[in-house]
């Protein structure tokens, strides 16, 4: 396959951008995407099938005043693109603004990810073998393992973005993912275990990580939970293991620091820049340049270079995250956070890799200092109401802490807290930083890959949503 700039020439792009502004709009943009993906699934001991997919098209955005018009097409011919540009222009503004010309320079790139082995150059048999190895590894852990499903996925996403302000940039984003879920069965019913790994790299992922170890871990998690007792009900200190709780920050404050939500007054963090919003232990970063991480990108989906942005420094809110539209409105710099799920979607402010940097406590000391509480070794997903600040996240592997020691496993449940309160309640922060599992962040119906991370930490009080008194 040729590069996107060979597929759609610069002259065509210039015509499309000019057409987009032909009804008088101030801004037009074209986003071209070609995404090839391969996935393979194993379930119930069988390779179910290998699936290959191809999604290719362009989204055209036209901004007139405060109104955005958007159209997309899978037809990348000049005629197809011009038709979509006209639709977007008409959507943004009924009327005529005369003839506009747009001229672009050379293509801009910003490489942050280093791919060794392109997944489409690896035989499918090798991908399928990984699934079989994971299946065997999980089943060999314990007789109680009754079902294993494993999934392999890779994608090569090529994007090209150009706009009427002269942005003309391209990026190749290669991602490789592997996941295992396990069901164990015992006297008390069924329990599940899950683990995944994914990076913005190629097939060399499997030189860095062992699928058998991943599968064995997921199996142990399910088997351990067979003996789990109901989680407590009520407020307790919670210790969160390194690399498993980044989702806490993603929900407790990440979304609330997205400038589009702040701008609409739908965030508890509006108007708080320069103020103390967290424990002084907390320094929170969003970094799209973190090479190889799941949320790493060379450019965002508006053609802006990815950046490392400090959001909270020693507890003080330093800045929000920005996309083109919101930065323009507030006369602020873009921060490389304008992202979209695909060419069929409008960009908006999104996180990339969001993490809290190391503190100074030894992780063992954090547990020892906790008389009674909950130790969370693996978190599931979460969600937040950014306006009220209330957020939840699930614990998929957790234990009781009794007299400063990790003891019995707990059944699953949600934890709930209020973002600003929880940030203030972080009273111990470890020195063992790690990134967590690959995530998909959902906002307004769009999913994008994001990473998160944190050292082991303690929140002095969170509400555990279990059933045990």
């Amino acid at each position: 396959m040729g590069t996107l700039s060979e597929l759609v020439g610069k002259e065509t792009i210039e015509k499309v951008l000019a057409k987009g502004r032909s009804t008088g709009a101030g801004f037009s943009e074209i986003f071209i995407e070609d995404k090839r993906s391969t996935s393979a699934g194993l379930d119930d001991g069988r390779i179910e099938q290998v699936t290959t997919g191809c999604d290719r098209g362009a989204g055209i955005r036209v901004v007139h005043g405060e109104t955005t018009g958007f159209a997309h097409t899978a037809d990348l011919s000049e005629a197809g693109l011009l038709q979509a540009a006209e639709a977007a222009a008409v959507a943004a503004k009924q009327g005529s603004g005369g003839v506009v010309t747009v001229a672009l320079g050379g293509i801009d790139t910003h490489q942050v990810n280093d791919v060794q082995i392109l997944p489409n150059e690896v035989p499918k048999t090798r991908k399928v073998e990984l699934l079989e190895r994971a299946n065997e590894a999980a089943r060999s852990i314990d007789q109680a393992v009754v079902q294993v499903s494993a999934g392999y996925g890779d994608s090569v996403r090529r994007i090209l973005v150009a706009n009427s302000e002269g942005v003309f940039a391209a990026d190749d984003q290669v991602r490789t993912l592997f996941r295992v879920s396990v069901v164990a069965s015992g006297d008390g019913g069924m329990q599940t275990g899950y683990d995944s790994m994914g990076r913005t790299i190629g097939f060399e992922l499997f030189d860095l990580y062992d699928v058998e170890e991943l599968a064995a871990g997921a199996a142990r998690q399910a088997v351990t939970k067979l003996k789990a007792r109901p989680a407590p009900s009520g407020a307790l200190p919670v210790v969160i293991k390194r690399g498993s709780g980044g989702v806490l920050f993603h929900e407790a404050c990440g979304h609330g620091l997205e400038a589009d939500l702040v701008g609409k007054g739908a965030s508890v963090y509006r108007g708080k820049v320069g103020e103390m919003v967290a424990s002084s232990l907390v320094t929170l970063i969003d970094d799209g340049t973190m090479s190889g991480e799941w949320g790493a990108i060379g450019i965002d989906d508006e053609g802006h270079h990815s950046q490392k942005n400090t959001l909270i420094e020693n507890g003080v809110l330093t800045d929000y995250m920005w996309d083109y539209l919101r930065a323009r409105k507030e006369n602020h710099r873009q921060s490389g956070n304008g992202r979209r799920q695909s060419y069929m979607h409008l960009p908006m402010v999104r996180m990339t890799n969001t993490f809290v940097i190391n503190g100074s406590s030894e992780p063992d000391d954090i547990v020892k200092a906790t008389k009674n509480g909950v130790y969370v070794a693996k978190l599931g997903g979460g969600s937040v109401n950014t306006a009220s600040g209330d957020f939840v996240f699930g614990m998929t592997e957790a234990y009781l802490i009794e007299n400063g020691e990790i003891t019995e496993p707990l059944r699953e449940g949600n934890l709930i807290g209020n973002g600003p309160q929880v940030l203030r309640d972080i009273d111990m922060l470890g020195n063992d930083f790690a990134m967590g599992n690959p995530g998909t962040c959902g906002k307004d119906g769009q999913g994008v890959p994001v990473g998160d991370g944190q050292p082991t930490l303690r929140v002095k009080s969170l509400t555990i949503g279990g059933t045990a008194a």
Partner: protein, 447 residues
Amino acid sequence: MSSDNALQDLADRIVAQAKPGEQVEAYVSRGGETSIRIYEGEVEHFVSAQSESVGIRVIKDGRTGYAYAGTLDESVLSEVFAEARDNVQFGSADEWAGLAEPDGVEKVPQELWNEELAHFPTAEKIAIAKELEKLTLATDSRIRIDDANYDDAYGETAFATTSGIRAHGRENGCYVSVGTLADDGDETQTGFGFSVGRTPTEFNLARAAREAADRATRLLGATKPQSKRTTIVLDPYVTAQFLRVLSGSFSGENVQKGRSFFADRLGESVANPLVTLIDDPTNPLAYSATDIDGEGLAARRNVLIENGMLKQFLHSSYSARRGQTKSTGSAVRTGGTPGVSCLAMQLVPGTATQDELIAQVSDGVLIQMVQGLHSGVNPISGDFSTGASGLLITNGQVGAPIREFTIASTLQRMLQDVVAIGGDVDWLPMSANGMSLVINDVTMSGA
């Protein structure tokens, strides 16, 4: 030639290229959507979009391969077919692998396509969304608007298989929604309202505006409750979300693969005798009503739980073959090969209004919103825990608002602990209906 036939012809042409010994299915679709968002009286965005896709499934010697592309461009079809064929060799041989076969069940005639919507003027769609924003703002001085939206979508699909399936369908629908913010000093609470229709003339904008405002304003001043065991009354929208969580446990494929807590329970009591739960995509009131399933078989009405007793599981052609039974027309496509799912879940309603149900509760909570069903509920173990907000109920009356708490139990217990089902049926923009539902003995966790 109608557009339906163009898609069917394309599917037929793909399948005609099957080689001896190959089973082939072509699944082609195209659709479009309009999405209009209003903010402060102006159009914030207007999205007008078309999309299309083709998926080809090839089965040979019990092995399956699949490929798809997001285009119907003729030049891509042969590449997709070749990829699907190439992928066959990597699948495991599975004695039950195969395509659906015509089963003689007739489609239930339904009006799934509305010509009025198909030709509804764009300017009027914008006007409707602006009107919704205006009506919502006018309800209460503490209300701000997050966004007011008009959305519509249409879709056409066609199936063809070497086993003799030929089916096509066409549907369209629309809804409006509004998100609200209510302020009181430093505190902000949120609400939402929506209205669904086959055509915009069916919208009830005033009700959507009222609900969006009430949901937000009645939470102002909410506090965190003490932990205790209590009775919950679920709002219709929450009930619908609860039903969706149960969906996977009725899948015959999940039963066969040991992922359903209903396995081995057929014919047994799994819920309070008040509970009769049906999956009925042939009911045109359901937003997700359809006349064909994800393999081109006629969609049909299936009783899942009758008076508390588990009646049957749902099947695709694969799980039916494996379970030596017949497909229930419950195949779904979520991007790849067929899975099994409920298409339009409907709990048979009672007769009481929500107020009448609340009047029977001496000590409980009206659950207005839940948060984190995806992270705190495990449909395999049945563990249920979700964030919530709502209103305390004392001696049959709703009182103070509460928030930042969870409700927890297990799905198995909650079905048995249903004590009343309301008659206030709401048809929602999702694949389950809702009505008020009263469940006993749930743990509320707060301060």
